[in-house]
Amino acid sequence: MIPDVRGYLREARMPHILCPGCGHGIVLGAMLRAVHTLGIPQDRLAVVAGIGCSSRLAGYVDACTLHTTHGRALAFATGLKLARPELVVIVLTGDGDGLSIGGNHLIHAARRNVDLTCILFNNAVYGMTGGQVAPTTQPGWLASTAPYGHAEPAFDGCALVQGAGGTFVARSMAYDPLGLQSILTEALQHRGFSYVEVLTDCPVYFGRYNRLGEGPELLWSQKVRFGEVGQMLQAKRFVTPDGTAPAGRVEGLRFGILHRSERPEFTHVCWSQVRQGGNP
């Protein structure tokens, strides 16, 4: 049964700013259900976000919410988590926010292994500014700043974060909210930096420029394009006990929990030094 998570929302702030057909709300729903499943009290929850459509979601969550500057949410969150280790800190970011202007903060948050759960909404486009290419836009796709097809290769955010030392790396999609919820539940329980990239769609820009249809068609295409993923969904193989599960690989993107490891967590190390009074 799907729990009612409206208690986690600031319903007075509705209607929200997202466009019809946007996949971001599905991701937010999965996140709130994961939070609910784990019984995290709202007073212990902080949501920190950058700039962009996905980052605006922070304002709709009834928690301590911090809407920061473009790309730098992880740096704000690092300070907040160090000051308040008891808070559960979720960072919401987009592909432009987290992988372009904020790429440096992303790799260093991963390297430090700060206990943050970073959800990166990947819609392959800058939505809020009008559909420009993002570092996740695949070559050849159309955007307002790529009218003849994008000339650059795209980032694989998961590979980047894993390479930087992230200890929990996963990818999911808006088409699969239940699988996403399971992954987020695991990510929130992980002690260290967890990175969950979620494919979500922007029908207003990416869909329109590339003639991919509206929200439902885009969601459906997630399933079709990632056929192997659909099979994995059927088999419920996304979350496995050891976390090193078989992961799908379609069109260069892998899905599921792609990497999980244990390393000392940054906040813990810092406060251990404090408890020892600076005497190692």
């Binding site: 301590c64 920061t68 907040l80 000051a83 440096n104």
Partner: protein, 392 residues
């Protein structure tokens, strides 16, 4: 017990912060400020605080703001190039009204410039470096003891007005050694992991509902009160608004909240201005040279005085204007091409002559250079060369 020690300005800065309860430092190395970070890295864990070296200056101030929201008094230190990168978050902290302290140990710019040489070229950047209209408090200590005192004061001002405060001094002040009375580490340990007290909240917390011109005390995240903080223009509740009436009102309140003299210890220093016909205006290390120049001018029979602002922004307009009625000439001495001189001209230029003495070559102004300028402007027939008036 505090005791007298021979220390650098940058060391005194760290002690000033710790004595004010600063328990979080995030920074990025840059000459000539790095000793502040090194002292904080060494001392913070011993007094119950956390140090982190971030990946860049944007991240450094971002982490400070995050930690400040978590209730820890927070500081970063940098120099010109890094200060430029911090402008993004100085604007954020000003608008979101999150207290924090930024130390800028000035070196000669622009750009990478002359990294180990002193300058005072960040005076206008400190005031106007970020976009939009926002309040900014900039303190300018002129010696090691004062670096300690004003850094501590910066935290009080930051919390009281919920605003970022810049402690601005030049490389000479940062690196020179002077006797200063600093607290013992044991005194700092005793206060432990000090957190800014969060006032109790009845009903809904309105983080931006001003009372008598100032915002309410900040409630820390994690204290059981949930609210929203954003860099978007927001209403009293903290949520974004696009209502022109609310937007205009909010920005008017924001820009009017810091008084000229934020606290009593921040009055300008006046030396021999009572009967002065010429007053040298200087801050930072230049004020030390100016002080000597004024003394030498007096010995030569020139009625000279010194006006030394401790707060550059907001500028001490009232105190400066009080002098303008009887002072004929203001000589503004700076290690830049006349940055604060523009403000002096704006404040008193209608009633007095404002001239400048500038040195921008990586060396501090000497008392002799300043004295020469004083003598030029007080000679019976001012030469054309001496009459370089400020543009209005």
């Amino acid at each position: 017990m505090a005791r007298l020690r021979l220390v650098r300005g940058n060391t005194a800065c760290a002690y000033g912060a710790l004595s004010a309860g600063c328990r979080f430092y995030a920074g990025y190395p840059i000459t000539p400020s790095s000793e502040v970070a090194e002292e904080m890295a060494r001392l913070l864990p011993r007094v119950g605080g956390v140090f982190v070296q971030m990946e860049d200056e944007m991240a450094s101030l971002a982490a400070c703001i995050g930690a400040s929201l978590g209730g820890l008094r927070s500081m970063t230190a940098t120099s010109g190039p890094g200060f430029t990168l911090m402008q993004e978050h100085l604007g954020y902290a000003a608008l979101a009204e999150i207290p924090c302290v930024v130390v800028d140990v000035m070196r000669l710019g622009p750009s990478t410039g002359f990294p180990t040489a002193p300058a005072q070229g960040d005076v206008l950047q400190a005031r106007w470096g970020s976009h939009g209209d926002y309040p900014m408090v900039v303190l300018a200590p002129a010696g090691v003891q004062e670096v300690f005192e004003l850094t501590a004061a910066a935290f009080e001002v930051a919390d009281r007005f919920r605003t970022p405060v810049v402690v601005l001094y030049d490389e000479v002040v940062g690196h020179m050694m002077e006797p200063a009375t600093l607290p013992e580490l044991s005194e700092l340990v005793a206060s432990g992991t000090w957190r800014r007290p969060s006032p109790p909240v009845q009903g809904t917390y309105l983080p931006y509902a001003y009372r008598e011109g100032t915002p309410p005390p900040l409630v820390s995240f994690g204290e059981g009160t949930r609210y929203h903080v954003t860099g978007l223009i927001h209403d009293e509740s903290g949520f974004p608004t696009q209502d022109p009436g609310k937007v205009g009102e909010m920005l008017r309140r924001l820009n009017g909240k810091v008084p000229e003299i934020p606290t009593d210890q921040l009055h300008p220093e006046l030396v021999a201005t009572g009967d002065a016909e010429v007053v040298v205006v200087a801050y930072g290390i230049t004020a030390r040279a100016a002080h000597a120049a004024v003394r030498q001018a007096r010995e030569l029979g020139v009625r000279a005085g010194l006006f030394r602002p401790r707060v550059l922004w907001p500028s001490p307009a009232t105190a400066l204007r009080e002098l303008s009625g009887r002072v004929g000439v203001f000589v503004v001495a700076e290690m830049n091409f006349g940055q604060w001189a523009r403000e002096v001209e704006r404040l008193v230029g209608r009633w007095a002559e404002v001239v400048t003495v500038n040195q921008v070559d990586g060396t501090p102004l000497s008392p002799q250079t300043i004295l020469q300028r004083v003598l030029e402007v007080t000679s019976p027939v001012p030469s054309a060369a001496a009459g370089r008036r400020m543009i209005s």
